[in-house]
Symmetry: C2
Subunit: 358 residues, 2 copies
């Protein structure tokens, strides 16, 4: 029987297409409000999977809008009761359910203090949406599996669509690629990645077996895909109870590389281009210390030397959009590993769909 998690992963290309189409007017309205407010700082409040969408948003806002981005420490608001100086801030709360009390508390405090507030959520009737002045709906439909998959990619797409709208038509000299030109092609690209990733997962190449047999794993990437490393590590924890740690390849070398050994699978998400080349050096160092990496990438990994286990996917998106694509093989791996470990990927022990922390 197909798990709900697998069904929901398969919906991702259509969910992103729907979001880009049906959410366009909403995105334009929020972008207009951001332009009018002219924030100097962006603050992102989120937990768990949504926090990883926040990590992605952080790189996209900083690189494309040159705005400094703070990942909120909600305890300053909810436990220590500090009032922050939120003037000139854009405060974005991200939560699939919209029922994370600490995220809503930060957004409420920021709104009272004069910040422009935006909720990104799959539930436009939620308390988070009520707390924020504006809402970007994820439009992902009901998600039945406890582990978030399509709603995560929908959050990434909502963030990318907002940044695309804020940089539309900007001269190339003003910064990196125009996301608004790249986004419309993303659903088809995700469809191709989904097909290739499912075909690869179906072949026995050892990765799923190695992960299922281990109680520890390293998941590595960097830059835009630092979010991918964190999120796929969390998926392995949630669905398969594997101690999987997500690292930036640079952070990995500052201590945790001591953990590398052949018995511990190391999963690398490698975009083509300059970041891919930067990742190679760190992966080589980890290999020298005993790590046996699997590298999931695009065209460039197909040309890698023998002896490195690679998965080459049709990654036809520019690097800032690769986190939407890499989520698919990553989630498929977590789903397969859970089943191989005899666990139900839809209902991990001890977890519930909505987590309430303050």
């Amino acid at each position: 029987m197909t798990s709900a998690m697998l069904s929901e992963i398969r919906e991702i290309p259509a969910v992103v297409a729907g979001l880009l189409h049906d959410g366009a007017a909403e995105t334009e309205r929020v972008a207009a409000a951001v332009r009018a407010a002219g924030p100097r700082v962006v603050v992102i409040a989120a937990r768990g999977t949504s926090d990883h969408a926040g990590v992605y948003a952080r790189y996209l806002f900083e690189s494309h809008l040159r705005l400094p981005v703070v990942l909120a420490a909600s305890s300053l608001t909810t436990v220590y009761g500090r009032s922050m100086d939120w003037r000139d801030s854009l405060v974005v709360g991200i939560s699939q359910s919209g029922e994370a009390p600490d995220v809503a508390a930060v957004v409420s405090a920021a709104r009272r203090a004069g910040a422009l507030t935006v909720a990104i959520t799959n539930e436009p009737g939620s308390s988070l949406a009520g707390a924020a002045e504006h809402t970007l709906a994820c439009r992902a439909g009901v998600e039945r599996a406890v582990a978030a998959t399509k709603t995560y990619v929908a959050e990434l797409a909502a963030v990318a669509a907002l940044v695309a709208e804020l940089t539309r038509g900007r001269p190339a000299s003003a910064g990196p690629d125009d996301l608004s030109r790249a986004l419309p092609a993303v659903p088809d690209a995700l469809d191709a990645v989904l097909g290739a990733a499912e075909a690869w997962i179906g072949r026995a190449d050892g990765l799923v077996e190695a992960l299922a047999a281990s109680d520890r794993a390293l998941v590595v990437s960097r830059g835009y895909d630092y979010a991918t490393a964190l999120e796929i590590a969390l998926k392995l924890k949630e669905t398969s109870r594997i101690f999987a740690e997500g690292y930036s390849s640079a952070d990995l070398l500052h201590g945790p590389v001591a953990l590398a050994e052949p018995a511990i699978p190391m999963l690398v998400f490698r975009p083509d281009g300059p970041m891919g080349a930067a990742l190679d050096g760190s992966v080589e160092r980890a290999r020298a210390l005993g790590a046996r990496p699997w590298i999931v990438g695009g065209r460039e990994v197909a040309a890698m030397a023998d002896g490195v286990r690679t998965v080459s996917l049709p990654l036809d998106v520019s690097e800032p959009l690769t986190p939407l694509a890499f989520a698919i093989p990553g989630q498929l791996i977590a789903e397969s590993v859970a089943r191989r470990r005899g666990m139900d990927p839809d209902a991990p022990a001890g977890l519930t769909k909505v987590t309430r922390t303050l």
Copy 2:
């Protein structure tokens, strides 16, 4: 034979006393420069252990100065070549050796773009110190063990001394406790914590044995001591090759709590006060799912119910300063676990004292 790591942990109270005394004039000069610049945003660039000092700095700057704090994504500068808008920013680079090329690159780019730049380093002749306009020296002396101990606490103390100077004499109504009044008593408090922690480590109460027998561990705290959880988890990785993950207690509940089981030690750093009470709820939830926590705390843990394993230390510092104190039992635990696992705490396999990433 006493390890260099243990000797260096024992130097911590004297190192902090020396920093507060000998570094006072330097701290005053940097504080004057910060006041004159009037930054709207603080950006912190660091890696590894120093990144955890950055996490501490983040809570202290946000809570005591109400300034938003960005933990820099150095790849935006070093790999993607983005130029950020650094005006009105205070950019702080933290590195024990001062030879982290990515940290120096961020500080250099920020200085060229008009930011006020400060290096916090144990090496005032380092390239990081050269890149920054101002330097706060850690004055910790030579550190021989690869795992940073006294230099980490010295970084925390340098940050606390700067924030104390920036808030000196501020009316109580303007914010939390006056750090400048609390800091002078810290060296004696650290001395008392060191004595109590060494006495406790010497007694066989099972924690060191449990950690040494496990290849996984959870390290949990929150708020100011989120830095403690991250740093002690890293110490266990570096010295003992244990997959120890550091979590905020709130993040723990958003997925990773699925990992909790009796065979995986869970180490909790619990300050007295409101954050301690907030932590208790998360620890209780983890216990219900099978975790067996050890709780390291102050007076309040002594009164906890039977059945919870606690370590009560003479924690005579206000909560914003507890990370300086909790580092001591945390580092002592890592040192003891390494020796019990038959490893050399001073020279972990695969690691070097200076790590260069770009």
